[in-house]
Symmetry: C2
Subunit: 391 residues, 2 copies
């Protein structure tokens, strides 16, 4: 009997109605004979609300107490899901990160998983129970409650799948899976049924929000097959796994697998001195990208973090050399694009009027930085010219 | 009976003595029962010498005639190898790129492989012959002789392995395999027995010379297992394949797989106008890296190409905004390094006195640009601190 880990994000368990409907669908999977381990996030907005409560009390909450507070969020969603499953006649049991044996280091707020002692989960599965595990949390080697930081629930799910020897890890979310570009910008974007870890990792780092890069790294490192699928339809989604299916049209053809983009990015330029290095060591926020260009260290972050980062800078006594907003990124992901001058020429031709300020490439991506207002047009045009309708 | 493709580079077949000694070793493999397909480069320096002969005649040799000339190089090495095998009592037959069915597009000097019609190879293998194929060359759909450009022989070998359904492709070269850093700089560098395609691709793009990025892309796309090994010892080398073996010490540990470096790089800064785009379309030389930074397109190339590139620029009527030499790159390759501010801080701390001008990261690498004279020191220090002696 195969173990399947299924992870439900905050929007998927955002209301009692949604939780009930998920429980009904899960009941069918259960009766089909799979052993189910469910990983849940806190209900949408719960974590932010708890955060705000803490910050109403103090601007400098203790990280330990903050972790204690935040981990309440998953307790709520997982117990509600457990109750809903019982209503469907299924015996289930919910576990905190600690009870489920997720051992982390001691970095409150941004802990890394060290190992998973999953024997309690195995015991309960053996009793034919559905096991529900709180995502995003663990227990440190010092027996303290920790949270895993951004992408934490995805990472919990993939780590559990790995340690449990699960057949696969299913990530249920509010989209159907991965597309060749954002369907809101490119209505003819193609659905990707299967994608390799390396391309998915490049996409995840490039702003695709369906799966956190940290979880993709984990999946890749331990070769865990992951399926991203809709929590509303449970329809087959995008499979992420090692094998990449070759296109047999032309062996050495350069081709773009997908186009990712990112809007509303801010750039902080900082002096690369010891204070800045201290700042980086203490960094707790999601960072999109960094670069050192000549005399400035550049940090690229989403605009929504501006206030937090300004605060962090002031705490470290740092004045930014410059701060700009309204930046966007368009990233072509695919094998064989790197360091191909002819491909670069084609992309420069196509985007000649889009005020592209920076271009960079990695092993499997070509990245353009341009004003946010040109992002949608660039994605649409590059998709049309480089991917087309039939993918 | 498994088909094994073995490729021998220019230094491996650099003299009659070397060719004879390879034939003796191959005889043993043959008697062990494998079906052998050998891909050979021209003897070391032959291609350069032929190039020079053509340029003595004209500064503007026809690309078609140049391809005709250059492909003579592999004819020499493959027939010598075939004769040496016959001396060992083994029936062998040599094929040009055309005879072996390597079909390319029409780009003389830099052709891409479209497909391989390998029936003649299969016929000869069925007669228990060793088949020797000229690397680096093919025949275009217009029936013209083409060469594949840089990395051509590696690419021929991997493409043949793919089309023949070979068990693996062995690349024989003048080193034992892949190390965690260049052993000439880091005497304690560790030997890597097995590496995944994605990390190998990042290394190949970062200046590791053991296998050309183009061949790694091919191997990755078609999942061909490749072994890089010494043509002097035939000892087991580095296996490149899909699976990456997890380190079980700490699940989410960031770790550096290997450190690559590149010396003596030149940077051309060009205006990103239509002339420059035309130049890129006509580009035929190996390019290490390109980037657009603010108002300049930057091309990074090895210093040895300086004269050729200056000539190409003048042909296109382009004056560089700036031209600098003496640049070096140090690239940390490994999963989980990307966008980790704490890791960046650590690397900045370690290299604080090394005049690092640029830092960039991709999904699985962190790249420093610094003066060539600081490269060896940076590699040694970063290896000691981030990889250590035991790998």
């Amino acid at each position: 009997m195969a173990i399947i880990v299924k992870k439900f994000g905050g929007t998927s368990v955002g209301s009692v109605e949604l939780i009930r409907s998920i429980a009904k669908r899960l009941a069918r999977d259960y009766h089909r004979g799979d052993q189910l381990v469910l990983v849940v996030s806190a209900m949408a907005k719960t974590t932010d609300n708890l955060f705000n409560l803490a910050y109403e009390i103090t601007r400098h909450p203790s990280r330990r107490e903050l972790d204690m507070l935040l981990t309440a969020g998953e307790r709520i969603s997982m117990s509600l899901l457990s109750l809903s499953l019982m209503e469907e006649g299924i015996t289930s049991i919910s576990f905190t990160g600690s009870q489920s044996g997720i051992i982390t280091d001691n970095h409150h707020g941004n802990a890394k998983i060290l190992k998973v002692n999953a024997f309690r989960i195995h015991e309960e599965l053996a009793k034919e129970k559905v096991v529900i595990v709180a995502g995003f949390q663990g227990v440190s080697t010092a027996k303290e409650i920790t949270t895993l930081g951004r992408g934490g629930s995805d990472t919990s799910a993939v780590a559990l799948a790995c340690y449990l020897g699960a057949e696969k890890c299913e990530i249920y979310t509010d989209v159907d899976g991965v597309y060749t570009a954002d369907p809101r910008i490119v209505p003819k974007a193609g659905f990707i049924k299967e994608i390799g870890y390396a391309n998915m990792l490049a996409l995840a780092y490039s702003g695709s929000k369906v799966l956190h890069p940290r979880a993709v790294e984990f999946a890749c490192k331990y070769q865990v097959p992951v399926e991203v699928k809709s929590s509303f339809t449970f329809a087959p989604g995008t499979m992420i796994r090692a094998e990449e299916s070759p296109k047999d049209c032309s062996m050495e053809d350069r081709f773009v697998t997908a186009i990712a983009h990112k809007d509303n990015i801010m750039r902080y330029r900082l002096s690369p001195n010891s204070r800045t290095i201290d700042l980086l060591k203490a960094w707790h926020h999601e960072i999109f990208k960094f670069a050192k260009v000549d005399d400035a260290l550049e940090l690229y972050v989403e605009a929504k973090y501006e206030a937090e980062i300004d605060y962090l800078l002031s705490q470290h006594g740092i004045t930014a050399l410059a701060k700009e907003g309204g930046l966007g990124f368009v990233i072509l992901v695919g094998l064989g694009l790197a360091a191909d001058p002819a491909y670069l020429a084609r992309v420069m031709d196509l985007t000649a009027d889009m005020r592209v300020e920076r271009i960079a490439h990695s092993e499997r991506s070509l990245e353009l930085m341009l004003p946010t207002q040109n992002v949608a047009r660039a994605v649409a045009l590059l998709h049309q010219e480089l991917i087309g309708e039939n993918t």
